[in-house]
């Protein structure tokens, strides 16, 4: 298992289901925990002491708190706590502005255009050289 604990943040529970299923099927993920609200996800991250997720797949367009707003707050979490956690944006947006923004954010490891398919999982989330 490459990732022991994966957090999925997407307001679309259908996508959550799809992504969670695909990840589990790919065999690189043990547990996934889904949040339909970025705020809830953030609150969760702020409350937990250990068992911090090592992978977060983050949608952009979400009500109440967007993916980028989440990232701003995420930056406030102490480094020590979130070290080893990789964040990928996962969106159906083709908007260049979003892509640009994502690539400029230091906490984002990559931008994945939906749908998340087995090839993408293999290529992006499981690079041969494990780590960035």
């Amino acid at each position: 298992m490459m990732y022991s604990k994966v957090m999925l943040i997407d307001d679309n529970d259908l996508d959550q289901f799809v992504n969670s299923t695909l990840l589990k099927k790919s065999g690189i993920v043990a547990n996934t925990k889904g949040f339909v609200s970025a705020k809830e996800a953030l609150d969760y991250l702020l409350t937990i002491e250990d068992e911090f997720p090592d992978l977060i797949l983050l949608d952009i367009k979400m009500p109440e708190m967007s993916g980028f707003e989440f990232l701003d707050r995420f930056a406030e979490i102490p480094d020590s706590k979130r070290a080893g956690c990789r964040v990928y944006m996962l969106s159906s947006s083709n908007d260049l502005v979003d892509m640009q923004k994502a690539s400029e954010n230091p906490h984002v490891c990559g931008y994945i255009n939906k749908p998340l398919d087995p090839r993408t999982i293999k290529n992006i989330l499981c690079p041969k050289t494990n780590g960035k």
């Binding site: 259908l14 996508d15 799809v18 695909l22 939906k114």
Partner: protein
Amino acid sequence: MKNGLLVWLAFILLIAIVLIDWYVPLGTAVGVLYLFVIVLVSRERKRVILLFSVLAILLTALNPILLATSETPVNVYLNRSLSIAVIVMTSIYAIYKSNLEDQSEEMRQHLDQSASYNTAVLDSVSAHIAVLNEDGEIISTNRAWNEFGKKSGLPDLKGISVGTNYFKVLKKAEEAGDNTAGQTLKGMLEVKAKTSELYEWEYPCHRESENKWFVMKVSRLKGFDDHLVAVHEDITSRVLAERSLQAREETWRQMLRNLPGYVYRCQNDEKWNAFFVSEGFARVTGYDPDNVDEENHFPLGDLIHRDYIDYIWKQSQDALNSGDVFRLEYPIATKTGEIRWIWERGQGVYSDDGQVQYIEGFISDITERKRSEEYIRKRLSMEKLHVRVSEAAVGYEDVAKVLNSILKDLGSTLEVSRAYIFKHNHSNDTLDNTLEWCADEIEPQIQNLQEVPASVFSVWTKPLSEGKIVCEHNAANVTNPVIKEMLLEQEIKAILLVPLFVSGEFYGFVGFEDCVEARNWDREDIEMLKSIALTISNLIERRQAEKSLIQERARLDNIIKSNNLGTWEWNLQTDEVIYNERWAEIVGYSPEQLELDCINTWRQLMHPEDEVKSDDILQQHIDGKIPFYECEVRMKHKDGRWVWVLDKGKIMTYTLDGKPEWIYGTHTEITASKLAEQEIKNQNIELEKRNTELDRFVYSTSHDLRAPLTSLLGLIMIAESNVREEDSELREIFKMMEKSVRRLDGFIGDILDYSRNIRQDVECELIDFEELVQEQEEGLKHFNNLVDHKVNVSVKCSGDFYSDKRRIRVILNNLISNAVKYLDPDKDESVVNVEIQTDDQLARITIEDNGIGIKEEHHEKIFDMFYRATAVSDGSGIGLYITKESIEKLGGSVHLESTPGYGTRFLVKLPNLKHKYKGVG
């Protein structure tokens, strides 16, 4: 004393003899003896004594005779008495005399002393003195004589001293050829012979070391008439003094002779009768100065020019009365009647009571100077004329008026009959007399001399057009018969023509005629006229230039007016400014309402914000950073609104030390266009906003459209993975579902690309074609049901290639995916060749396949929007349209070659946009 005693003894003896009456012979003997004694003792008055003594002897001798003849004692006694008386008287006299001599004895001693004194005196006299006796023997000399003989060192002289016979010496010298000696001898003998009282002979005696002069004076010795006194004296110093005096006198005489005039002395009467004039008189007046002396007076006043007599009389009398020197210049008539100018300086010589005794003065001939003055005066008047001409030429008066005044000036100064200007018409080769000036009583000719064919005057116009002057001093002497006839025909005696050249071309000539008499055109006059002709040429040239300048100015004015340009001129050094009327009109003022010569007018009307900007731009122009000053500024209109003005200017002149001086510029009112521009700007902003909104709309729409699609795709994938291996039908259905969804997704992507291409500007960056092609190969893997194929990629890059990466990606994506999509499944081997070559100029992208090909009828249409050429296609029909649009946006071109059944070849050319790259590394 001695003599007296002797006389007394002789007297006593005689008395004794007489008394004893001893013997007559004895008595006679005694008487003779007595006589002898007397004579011995007394040299003076010897005649008297001798007479008495002879008488006494006679008486004594007669005594016996008397005695013999008459025996009378009376006789005897008488005789005796007589004898005794005589003897007594003689004796008394002798005694007296003797006493006298005794008395003189002391005197004689004194005299002896005196003689030695005199000798000393003579010895101390520098003159050489010798006394000669009657034979010429030197009997006495003074010391100077002796020393001269010794000092002279001459053997001849050495021996000449006391005892020498000087006559013989001289004779000998004369025979030896010494003329001086001969003269001296002659003179001496004359003096000796008493034919002359004094012989005096001065002679030079020059030796190697020095020149000496001597004088020999010979006279008879006083009291010793047979003796001669020779006085020889060195008179060198005297002679030299005399000589220098003579020389000085000679010099003075010479000076007087050489004076450029003469010295005179005359009476102060009405004729100024001269009683002395120096030699120069002859040269000045032609009269002989030797005929003028105290007796023969010369009336100087008769020489004076009649017109000047009164003036000179008054001037001289005034000066004499006040004791001043008078200086006068006036003409005189010489003996030959020639008029000469003289300069006189005279002053009075006054008697003790202040009356003028006579006048002394000096008169100098200044005729030459007067001529020079006359000449200079003439030159000066010519120079002044030249100056006047030059002054007239730089004025702003009408050119004809100026030239007329110049002609008049020239004509009257040169004293010619006619002065004129001819203009040559190049078009028909004729001459026009354009301007003419005539002296009094000279008939104008200008009317007769219009459009005269130049050929008539060709003898003159030819040399004139070659820049030569024409100059005839005397028509009668002209050798060329053509010219001579022409001159005589017009009654011209002398003519001078000077050519005029304007802008290097023959313009015509200025001419002068003398119809009265022949004249010698002065060389200097000709030179001056040449120079004046040059001035006239310049004047005409300048006026022509001015004329064209005025025309040009009028044209410029028209341009300025027709363009409604406000103009301004500003001296940056003095802040002197000039605005035109339009300048004021732009801001709503009439010219009278504004100070159109004040820089502050501009500053006060300008918007304060723009003033800073304007000053900044102007400074940049002054510093040479920008070639023009150009600035859009707002100015306050009279009615309070702001007027937009395009202010342009350029520094046109610089001061001598290189500072910018005059800047000239224009004001164009651009309020309307400025407002329109503002309007456009606002519209642009609005449009921009709408575009952005549209962008947002497209993105969010595409997102919202894609979101369910992607979810669906995910679900299909999950479903598919759950299908059992053997249930192939269901698996196929899922595949079709996925394909369909992906097609829709691709369509949304195309629309997004299209939208981006239309609105987004070209962004240049370095293109890595290999990476881009590789990216496309990766992308192709999404297509599941593709024909097996091989993609050959060849990228040859020469140098960096710049373009818009996104658009190239769209182009490659469409063309490569099309090539792959439309491969021919029936072919054994399907190949796609991607070949890219780049250089400095462009990139050639060739994408070639051996697919199904495109029918020719579709070639033109496949790039249209939503056009689909084949039923095989499952595309949206927008891909090639976007491709073409993108290529065009990048300034490139696309070319299609395709044969159905064989394959298709797209050739894309894209320019290298290196020059547009404003890269950041």
